[in-house]
């Protein structure tokens, strides 16, 4: 059947690519290296732990309500699948495998599209999408949802361009059917499909009417389906899953925008390049009067060339991967992972290696928890950067909204360890509101409910947690234990919490000092409350507070005075010229001697704070003398 506007059905099809085995081999080699690079160098498992500190990482539940919630929006299918796959990043190698698969499929669709639109297979262009994915991985920007949306759109475009139908009306019908399905599946990414299909029709076969119809449909489908069928607002109808809609950092959005733009731009540029090259060749041929047959290349030369090109591609990808890799997020996420898995010595080791510029309050809070849990807070606290805010996060109720959103789970962590179960639960519920039903939050809430004797509420929270892909097993085991013993009286962690919980009810959001003192009133053997109280006094330079509570060391069987407390007592005695009742303990001679030396050096630079800092930081940066003098510790390498 012929049409007046275009070629016949058989000629409408793109040429099927000839078998070029060298190309798949190169791609396979690329992807194998890609996988190992992402797995071993990037360690995508770290991204999973970002879910507590950023809303960028999607959460997932097998709950029907979660699915229904997403399916109410265009793009919900892609969001659902991506959220499910994202959970598997918990296992680093599976995360690498997913990233590799997505990169490979994006590369394949690029290859197929360029091949279809230009009539010739690309040699290097199809490596651009996987390299972009590599950059995303190396910058710890979790863009699986965006990549999946692009993949859906380009896969649908491939289906369209390779469609063995040449009749424009039929092609348009197929376009519309694919449009409806794709729009529902991938939301705003549908626009990419419409643009690519239009380019194909316009430039490959010069079907201007069909190309224009594709563009028009691209504009109309989101309006009709999104606005009138799914009843979503216009911004969501067109923009869902498109770049710059997720509220993420702009660098991250630029990366995903590049991926979106790559396909139409690459197709356009290739078309222009091919047209120019063909004209040039034609001009040259007509000038020479014949078609010059190039010298045929031998097999050996072909292999050499293939090898050279392959090495070039891999080297270029490697260079981009190396240059774009950002070690900062990796270091921070490694600390976050250690914190969530309560790997305290490892956390401190990571913190030791962390460049000072990356040492933010989140790290400081984790480090102080780790120092407490490893029994080093009393003696080594000032070996790490400290300032007045580094002991614990602010109460999310009182904090500015942005800090409250990111820090409420950290606050819940500290309060959980301390035994302030009500405040920990309050912060965890706020985290739930901000970040969604993430497994670690549900787990925390379930434990708190059990500790507070609310076994029925704990069961429901565990029921919700059993819909998670990773912690479902833990939740089911815990539910079984609850079934046998609703109070979980034999559980060590629950027992610890119950032993340190406050017993006297008050209301309001008291200062941190009062929270700790209440804990000590309820249980004077609450070691963490005591050490955090002393750390609080140390950081707020309240020497009187330290002196007032030094007698509590008796409750913990300390015969000696821990290093930093001792330093504070020395400062207090020097400042007030008074004695402190140390309950039979004495200040070590070395501490007094160090203090004398410190004062001498400090006095030597008394007029110049900067020089005094430089002179004292090396030898005294890890002492409380230094912190007390300068308001921050100098003890980091």
């Amino acid at each position: 059947m012929r049409t007046s506007a275009g070629p016949d059905a058989s000629s409408a099809l793109p040429e099927h690519p000839r078998r070029t085995p060298a190309l798949p081999v190169r791609s396979a080699l690329f992807l194998v290296l890609f996988f190992f690079y992402v797995w071993l160098r990037v360690d995508p498992g770290l991204v999973y732990y970002a879910h507590m500190i950023t809303a960028d990482f999607p959460f997932f539940s097998r709950n029907a309500a979660f699915l229904a919630d997403l399916l109410a929006y265009p793009g919900g299918v892609v969001e659902y699948v991506s959220a499910g796959l994202s959970q598997l990043y918990y296992y680093s190698w599976i995360g690498a495998l997913i990233a590799t698969a997505v990169a490979g499929l994006l590369s394949l669709t690029a290859w197929l599209l360029v091949r279809a639109v230009t009539g010739r297979p690309p040699r290097f262009l199809h490596f651009v999408p996987p390299v972009l994915v590599l950059v995303c991985c190396g910058r710890y920007a979790h863009l699986l949802t965006g990549c999946m949306a692009v993949l859906s759109a380009t896969a649908a475009a491939c289906l369209y361009v390779w469609l063995p139908v040449g009749v424009p009306s039929l092609r348009f019908a197929v376009f519309l059917v694919l449009s409806c399905v794709l729009y529902y599946v991938a939301g705003g990414a549908y626009l990419l499909y419409a643009v690519v299909c239009a380019l194909f029709e316009l430039f490959r076969w010069r079907r201007r009417v069909l190309g224009a119809l594709c563009i028009l449909a691209g504009a109309a489908v989101p309006y009709v389906i999104g606005r009138h069928v799914l009843l979503v607002r216009i911004a969501d109808a067109y923009g869902r899953l498109l770049p710059f809609r997720g509220g993420r950092r702009w660098q991250t959005e630029v990366l995903i925008a590049c991926l979106y733009l790559f396909y139409p731009v690459a197709l356009l540029l290739t078309m222009v390049w091919r047209t120019l090259a063909a004209r040039k060749r034609q001009a040259r041929d007509s000038a020479q009067g014949r078609v010059a047959a190039g010298p045929s290349r031998g097999a050996a030369e072909g292999t050499r060339r293939w090898l050279l090109e392959t090495v070039l591609v891999l080297a270029a990808a490697g260079a981009v991967g190396y240059l774009s890799f950002d070690g900062g997020p990796k270091a921070l996420l490694a600390i976050e992972r250690c914190s969530q898995r309560r790997m305290w010595p490892e956390l401190l080791a990571h913190a030791r290696r962390l460049p000072q510029r990356l040492y933010d309050p989140f790290v400081a809070w984790d480090v102080n928890r780790a120092l407490y849990h490893t029994g080093r807070l009393r003696d080594e606290m000032f070996s790490y950067p400290q300032d007045g805010l580094s002991l614990r996060p602010p109460d999310p109720v009182a904090a500015p909204l942005d800090l409250s959103q990111t820090a409420c789970m950290e606050y819940s962590d500290v309060l959980f360890d301390l035994g302030r179960v009500n405040e920990s639960e309050r912060a965890a519920y706020m985290a739930l509101e901000y970040l969604g039903e993430r497994p670690a939050i549900l787990q925390r809430l379930a434990l708190l409910s059990v500790a507070r004797g609310e076994a029925e509420a704990a069961r429901i929270l565990l029921g919700a947690l059993s819909q998670d892909l990773i912690l479902a097993g833990w939740a089911r085991r815990y539910l079984a234990r609850l079934g046998k013993d609703p109070s979980l009286s034999a559980d060590e962690e629950i027992g610890r919490l119950r032993s340190v919980m406050v017993t006297e009810d008050k209301v309001g959001t008291p200062p941190f000092e009062d929270l700790l003192l209440d804990l000590l009133r309820s249980n004077r053997h609450n070691r963490m409350a005591f050490e955090y109280l002393m750390a609080h006094y140390l950081l707020s330079r309240d020497l009187e507070g330290v002196a007032r509570n030094i007698g509590r060391l008796d409750d913990f069987g300390h015969r000696d005075i821990p290093k930093h407390y001792e330093e504070a007592i020395v400062l207090h005695m020097a400042g007030t010229d008074s004695e402190v009742d140390l309950r039979g303990r004495s200040i070590r001679w070395e501490t007094l001697s160090r203090f004398t030396e410190f004062c001498k050096m400090r006095d030597r630079h008394s007029g110049d704070r900067r020089r005094a800092w430089d002179a004292l930081a090396k030898d005294y940066g890890d002492t409380y003398f230094f912190y007390y003098t300068f308001g921050s510790s100098g003890g980091t390498e």
Partner: protein, 534 residues
């Protein structure tokens, strides 16, 4: 190609046959000739035992919490074919069509569940029959509620939903994401009808203002009821039976938290007043008796005939109306008060105390008159204006003829709060934390002609184990007869773009505030915490 297709069809047919055979053998109809009586009722969840259900309710699907390999439940009544549900799990999903027929044919009769469980050795056990009753009177078909997380101070996601009680279908009315994470609360309907309704909204990330969404005959209008004398937006409201007036309270609500109490959250009105919005003239009116500066007035509720406005009123136990928690917050107890009002002339009567907190020793909140005018149901708790945060909160019923009141039979040892009547005055929907102390669920109780409330049942769901993992709350259940005529973008679009209709000046000015306690017009910014009563 054809051969391949044939193979595919064959494999599919075999799969269907195998599935059917498996279903017949394991889950289909079963004849139980012998069984061992267990001598006790089965453990089932949710608790659908000894309750009274409406004849038009969706199937009460439940889960049998007994160990076994197979389960069989026979649902039967006086007439009609019994329904048999057999399965290999304890999850009993009753076919809706047959359920509907059975209930419809047996109004006023008993409804029995016979539960059989088969042990691994093949022997069946039969538990004592569960008996419920089918009321003669239907329940209003829909329940409108707010779905929200357990909330502390901040919110991100919430939605107004509508639940079809006959088909167990949840329908989203408005998701707050559609207007950039704003807040919505206090959906109020006129005479259990969606012809006229109110919804209070407040901006989220973008400033769309705050106020009432007034929906009349499917048309949405934004009404800002704030005035010079009442600078806070309307919160709790009640439609006059005539549909011409809406009574509302303006509340300066704050939340605070307990350190060791099981219910962590608590809340209070630092200040509150009341007024009415006249729909015809689009003006706000008030009278001194409902906005006294020395008292907190809230929870307006019209009587069935519209001649009286009931509300709750408490002396202000604190002098500082900004400090949270306020001093003596645990001493705030509300009286039940009513005031006459003539809707035709706009004249107010005298306020009278119907029930004093001094007499009850408890704080009275949330009065709601039954549409037939016979009863008034309210909450009483140790203190506070927010019963949902008080584990001691229970529902009480007052016979308006003699003003005798009593604790209702449908209470539990945990907080019962927000209740609403069905249009025929026979069903009471209410919020309760009885299941676990934390997650609010909607319950329904049959209230007979004597005012006796029968054992309530939880909102039925299609999935028998739905409540095992659902951590959102069913807040503010309100029963209505019809679907809400507008939803989604039809409402959100108005919130985002339409201008606010400013209410006119007050017809009757309230008592001027004392000079020491001025309320600046901007006292309640968009960041203020507005009522999230759960």
């Amino acid at each position: 190609m054809r051969r391949a297709l044939r193979y595919v069809v064959l494999v599919l047919a075999l799969a269907v046959l195998a599935g059917a055979a498996y279903r017949t053998l394991r889950g289909g109809a079963v004849t139980i000739e012998e069984w061992t009586p267990m001598g006790r009722p089965p453990r089932i969840r949710p608790d659908y035992t000894s309750t009274v259900v409406p004849p038009n309710i969706a199937p009460l699907n439940f889960c049998v919490d007994e160990d076994g390999d197979r389960y069989c439940v026979k649902v039967r009544s006086s007439s009609g074919d019994p329904i048999e549900v057999v399965g290999t799990t304890g999850q009993i999903v009753i076919p809706p069509g047959r359920w509907r027929k059975l209930l419809d044919a047996n109004r006023g009769e008993e409804l029995h569940f016979d539960v059989y469980v088969q042990a691994p050795d093949g022997r069946w056990s039969r538990f004592d029959t569960i008996t419920n009753s089918i009321a003669a009177e239907e329940i209003d078909r829909y329940m409108v509620y707010r779905r929200i997380n357990v909330m502390y101070d901040e919110y991100v996601r919430m939605g107004i939903h509508q639940y079809d009680l006959e088909n167990a279908e949840d329908i989203l009315v408005l998701d707050n994401r559609s207007f950039d994470g704003g807040c919505m609360n206090c959906h109020t309907f006129w005479n259990n009808s969606t012809e006229k309704m109110l919804l209070h909204v407040r901006s989220g990330q973008k400033d769309y203002g705050m106020g009432m969404l007034l929906v009349q005959d499917g048309v949405v209008e934004k009404v800002d009821a704030r005035t010079e004398f009442s600078p806070r937006p309307a919160a709790f409201s009640s439609w006059h039976p005539s549909g011409r007036v809406v009574a509302f309270s303006t509340n300066k609500v704050r939340q605070f938290f307990h350190h060791a109490r099981t219910e962590i959250r608590d809340g209070t009105d630092l200040d509150s007043d009341m007024g009415i919005y006249l729909l015809d003239s689009k003006t706000v009116a008030s009278t001194a008796a409902i906005c006294r500066p020395d008292r907190l007035e809230t929870w307006p509720a019209w009587s069935a005939d519209g001649a009286h406005l009931y509300f709750c009123s408490s002396p202000v136990p604190w002098s500082d109306r900004d400090t949270v928690p306020p001093e003596h917050y645990e001493q705030v107890r509300y009286d039940l008060v009513r005031i006459g009002y003539d809707v035709n002339t706009g004249t107010w009567g005298e306020a009278e105390t119907v029930l004093s907190s001094e007499d009850t020793g408890l704080s009275i909140t949330l009065p709601r008159a039954s549409p037939d005018g016979r009863f008034l149901v309210f909450c009483m708790s140790e203190y506070s204006t927010f019963p949902t945060f008080q584990p001691s909160s229970d529902l009480y019923l007052m016979d308006l003829a003699g003003r005798e009141y009593r604790r209702m039979e449908c209470n539990s040892d945990r907080a019962e709060s927000w209740h609403s009547w069905s249009s025929n005055s026979r069903w009471l929907a209410f919020s309760s934390k009885r299941g676990d102390g934390l997650f609010i669920r909607a319950y329904f109780s049959y209230v007979d002609e004597n005012g006796t409330a029968h054992k309530p049942f939880v909102l039925p769901q299609s999935d028998p184990v739905f409540y095992d993992s659902f951590i959102k709350l069913y807040q503010m259940p309100e029963m209505v007869r019809e679907l809400v005529p507008v939803r989604g973008e039809e409402i959100a679009g108005v919130i985002r773009s339409a201008p606010w209709t400013r209410s006119g000046p007050p017809v009757t000015a309230p008592t001027p505030r004392a000079a020491s306690e001025p309320v600046p017009p901007s006292a309640e910014g968009p960041e203020a915490w507005t009522p999230h009563v759960q």
